[in-house]
Amino acid sequence: MTAQSDDELWSAIADPSRRRVLDLVVSNGEVSASWLAGRVQFSRQAVSKHLVVLEQAGLVSRRKQGREVLYHVEADRLDQATAAMADLAAQWDRRLGAIKRLAEAAHAEVKGGRHEGRRHEGEKQ
């Protein structure tokens, strides 16, 4: 797979209706544009436009079978996007967990009647 722009990747999956198209391709293997159009709320033209963007971003590929054009997901590329998103979310979960511990410890200290301020490691006892 060629190195497509990552900007294209993020833009491609940023649109909810495009993600719906991608989702349908993922869960159904190889599908045609008209099959997709029968399963979404938007027009056949919109489906085709979404497929073009997804293809440019490297997320789907097409092949011809007889007169039909069938689309399938490019697994590596999708994996790249989902892994990066999951990593970011996990990073924030860790940070929020740390904030929670710090805030609850600070609050418990004040509630304990010690109003002399924050106490840090290394501070004089």
Partner: protein, 148 residues
């Protein structure tokens, strides 16, 4: 076009004022975020966050204690960070009673910046079920309300 938004939240057993202090005071930020935090908490203030030998400038955007705090970073060197060239990190604090706070963080703007090659995970087979699961994970970290 709506962007990708990472949205996470946590419920903290402490008043919003306490949570506010943890997320905005540089000496507290250095305990949960960057190793080195040089920041004045004022709208428009320029600062720096360091992670080991890496780091970069940040610019404070919103300071509305103890409700909302946001900053922008990852903008191109030499440019002012604005919507379109930077990542916006926004904290929202919602009191739930006197001693409980819901803290939500959103991170947006990823589709607009360069992304380093994420390490590619190899899967023995590319089962459809596996990919559907990944899409669920993807959906789970995206903001719910992105219609448009």
């Amino acid at each position: 076009m709506p962007g990708l938004v990472i949205e996470r939240e946590v419920v903290i057993e402490a008043p919003a004022e306490v949570v506010w202090r943890i997320i905005t005071e540089p000496d507290q930020m250095s305990q949960w975020f960057a190793d080195r935090v040089e920041l004045v908490i004022e709208p428009g203030a320029h600062g720096y966050m360091g992670f080991g030998d890496q780091g970069g400038p940040v610019v404070v955007e919103t300071v509305d204690p103890p409700v909302r705090f946001s900053f922008r970073w990852n903008h191109p060197r030499g440019e002012e960070p604005v919507a379109g060239n930077s990542i916006l990190v926004e904290f929202t604090l919602t009191p739930e009673g006197d001693e409980r706070t819901r803290l939500r963080v959103t991170e947006s703007g990823h589709e607009l910046r360069d992304w380093p090659d994420a390490e590619k995970q190899r899967y023995a087979d590319e089962h459809q079920e596996g990919w559907a699961e990944y899409l669920d994970r993807l959906a789970a970290v995206l903001a719910k309300d992105q219609s448009g």
